[in-house]
Point group: C2
Chain length 475, copies 2
């Protein structure tokens, strides 16, 4: 990326408005037949499309991707067709998965091959899973042996392993040369790989022996040898490391790039802060999506059918848990018939349990993500959370109990309400600590689905506790 | 940070275990009087503390911070007292707000001043709000004029404005010199500011005229002039820019550092990718916290009282909304008495509305954060979401309606159930698009609280729709 492109970011919204204006003029010129370029033969239309092309050419690929994501499907494809074909690949890399699908669906096999061929091996590996299966054999055949091997290596790792995210654009040097030699060597490059902040020092067996930050190359005398200046002990990672933990290391140590080595210490790739930034953003996004009950990111202009498929899984789970809670209530229909106030008050008991349980679980999930919970501290946490729940139950439960007593002139009902709220809060605290710890122990991601589980527990549990107590003591 | 420290990250867990082991031996040696260093005078205890000190000295400040966060309060302070006092400042910068509070509470005025004096202006500004008020006058007096001015400038911005996050460690050069001169100039530095990936080119009025990436300095011939090589057009930001938007630009354009300029183009600071990485992580964390019903990050070992204060605000809001929903049910007590199945089925209607509304709102909040919703697209979104809700209502509502009919042998009840679920899903879709867009229009952050609002709407709305329909058609 060069600086001139980057500066476009500031003007992004103006340019988006300009694209919108050109699309409006285009619509006006060709009527409603936007996708049929054949009808667009008048000089006016040609002029508009030319302007659109020029505008897109001047934009950074990430900005074109952003504009494509913001447009409804027909306009999106109209803009996509105006992008120079040699930029298709880098733009496909930048758009969201959902939008990428819609763009690839519109391309024929030749266009796809032409788009992805200029990409690097790691970028290619990112795209491969979204490409139609029939282009893969031809694509792999078109790569040279090294590229093919790198793509296959990247594909052999899980998406959350470092091996799937590393790139291969490294500048390597030997330690027995002077900094002057290194400076002369670098001048032979047209440009250095993006985000290069250090050179990797390797021996003749390709084993990493140190790193030379560009800073140190610049502040030290050119007469010094690399071996005098380099740092022998570096923050290296392995290709099967959990990428999210590596991202935490990047954040903790303010890294820009880091080497990836195999088990015998040989340099096999590097990882950059921009990949980590993308990862952190994607991770937090997918967490927000799953918490909100969506399976994956959704193109805001997705078809109704695509939206339904994305959302059905969680709606179905919710319906099942709601149905279970409803059957719990069903057990106590005769008590409710005798004292209809129970039906009125029961959502309060379930609600406060769900809210409080989600507070606990949010805190525990965060501590688990940072690896800050040990067996010893889990016990302390349980004690603390149960105590917090007890205090909350007595105070809030007491307050609502008094209100229920006054509303229904029934002191026993008020006492049952207080007791039920306290017990449900204790249940919420117990499960709020236990569910994420158990999920972690069984190798599941505690951020996904634990909120649904706790709400299911506190709903059914809350109804059972409240209606059960009422049945025993009030009817 | 130097590379040797960074590599410690990989060994972090081993070192944490070593700290834990030393603490256990220390506990065993001094009994339970851990905080009273006076009792620790035996040689064995001195030896343990010496080992702890050595271990901590070898750790990166971020790793010490991590260990402090993972320890319960007494152990945390025992470790904190063993940290060399000249590292206190950088460690305080790294710990979470809640833990920072507990550490500062344990320091006297002299210790605090000694800890923060070595910090840079932007770091100092980060800490100032957590320091006891009485140290501030003395602290400000101890700074030189430039430092004081910078701290005050940083404090004059909101925490989410770039001015509060920028630092002042820039290397500036003139454009009328050769690269050779620049290389010689850099060799006069002992080290370059962390993460420096470009030099800022300014004229005699301090106006930024371009940037010279280190890469270009290295690959170009030293005979060239800076003006020939530099990029005149750069991605500059203003101190009152929204930091979160700047972080998106960093992500989009893979930036490492960027200049901050005032209205007349004068260079006043720079912003680095590590500040942006912290910001994105904090933003996603605070979103997760508020979604989970916590006001702020909580030290997992916080006292019960501190936890209660952190959680009460949201519990109170939840109780109010649950109470309103309960009063809505209260309106229909006579209908429930006639047909107790209504009490059993009503949580299903409310639940599916809440779940579906949260799906919609999650998607809209994300699109709003990316600025991808225009007035025109809002209308399309509403149409799409209402259609999705209608289909979901007919299918899921229909299924549950059939189950209700079979369970209670009452076909009218099944039809009312289907109608109520469909209507509540439509309400959820309407509010799910409308609430975040309205919040955004009124300048509020749509990520905070919109989930609570939608759930309140679909609870009360769901009960009202279902019980209302039932009252009209069934009783």
């Amino acid at each position: 990326m060069n600086e001139a492109q980057a500066s476009a970011g500031i003007r992004l919204h103006a340019q988006m408005a300009a694209v919108g204006e050109l699309l409006r003029r285009y619509h006006a010129a060709v009527g409603e037949t936007l996708n049929e370029a054949t009808t667009a033969d008048s000089a006016a239309v040609e002029d508009i499309l030319g302007q659109l092309r020029d505008l897109l050419d001047a934009l950074h690929p990430a900005d074109v991707a952003y504009i494509l994501e913001s447009l409804p499907p027909e306009d999106r494809l109209a803009v996509w067709h105006r992008v120079k074909s040699d930029r298709d690949g880098e733009i496909l890399l930048e758009v969201s998965d959902a939008v990428r699908e819609s763009l690839i669906a519109d391309m024929d096999q030749g266009e796809i091959l032409a788009a992805v061929e200029p990409l690097d091996a790691d970028e290619l590996a990112d795209l491969v899973e979204d490409l139609p299966e029939e282009v893969l054999p031809e694509l792999m055949a078109s790569l040279d042996a090294q590229q093919r091997e790198r793509v296959q290596s990247a594909l052999s790792y899980e998406p959350d392993q470092l091996g799937a995210l590393m790139d291969f654009e490294m500048v390597t040097i030997r330690e027995d040369v002077s900094l002057e030699t290194v400076l002369r060597y670098l001048r032979r490059f047209d440009e250095l790989p993006a985000q290069t902040d250090k050179l990797f020092v390797i021996n003749h067996e390709n084993v990493l022996t140190g790193v030379l930050p560009l800073h140190w190359l610049l502040v030290n005398s050119p007469d010094k040898m690399v071996s005098e200046v380099m740092a022998p002990d570096v923050n290296t990672f392995a290709p099967d490391d959990d990428a999210y933990h590596v991202a935490q290391a990047f954040e903790r140590y303010d890294l820009v790039t880091a080497p990836v080595v195999d088990a015998s210490g040989r340099l096999i790739g590097r990882i950059t802060v921009d990949a980590m930034l993308d990862l952190i953003r994607e991770e937090s996004e997918s967490e927000a999506l799953s918490r909100g009950g969506l399976r994956e990111g959704e193109d805001i202009f997705a078809s109704v059918w695509a939206s339904l498929r994305n959302r059905w899984a969680w709606l179905a789970i919710n319906l099942v848990t709601a149905f279970v809670a409803s059957r719990v209530i069903g057990l106590f229909e005769s008590s409710i018939q005798q004292l209809v106030a129970l039906a009125t008050l029961m959502p309060i008991v379930a609600g406060i349990g769900g809210n409080s349980g989600n507070q606990t679980i949010t805190m525990i999930v965060r501590a688990l993500a940072l690896d800050q919970i040990t067996t010893d501290s889990a016990k302390r946490l349980w004690r603390k959370e149960l105590l917090v729940a007890l205090v909350n139950g007595l105070i809030w439960g007491g307050a609502i109990g008094v209100i229920a007593w006054l509303l229904y002139a029934n002191i026993a009902l008020g006492i049952v309400m207080t007791a039920a709220m306290t017990l449900n809060l204790l249940l919420a605290a117990f499960c709020g600590v236990g569910i994420p710890i158990l999920m972690e122990r069984f190798g599941r991601d505690p951020a996904v689905g634990s909120s649904v589980m706790i709400t299911a527990m506190t709903d059914s549990g809350g109804f059972f506790i409240f209606l059960g107590l009422a049945t025993v003591f009030l009817t």
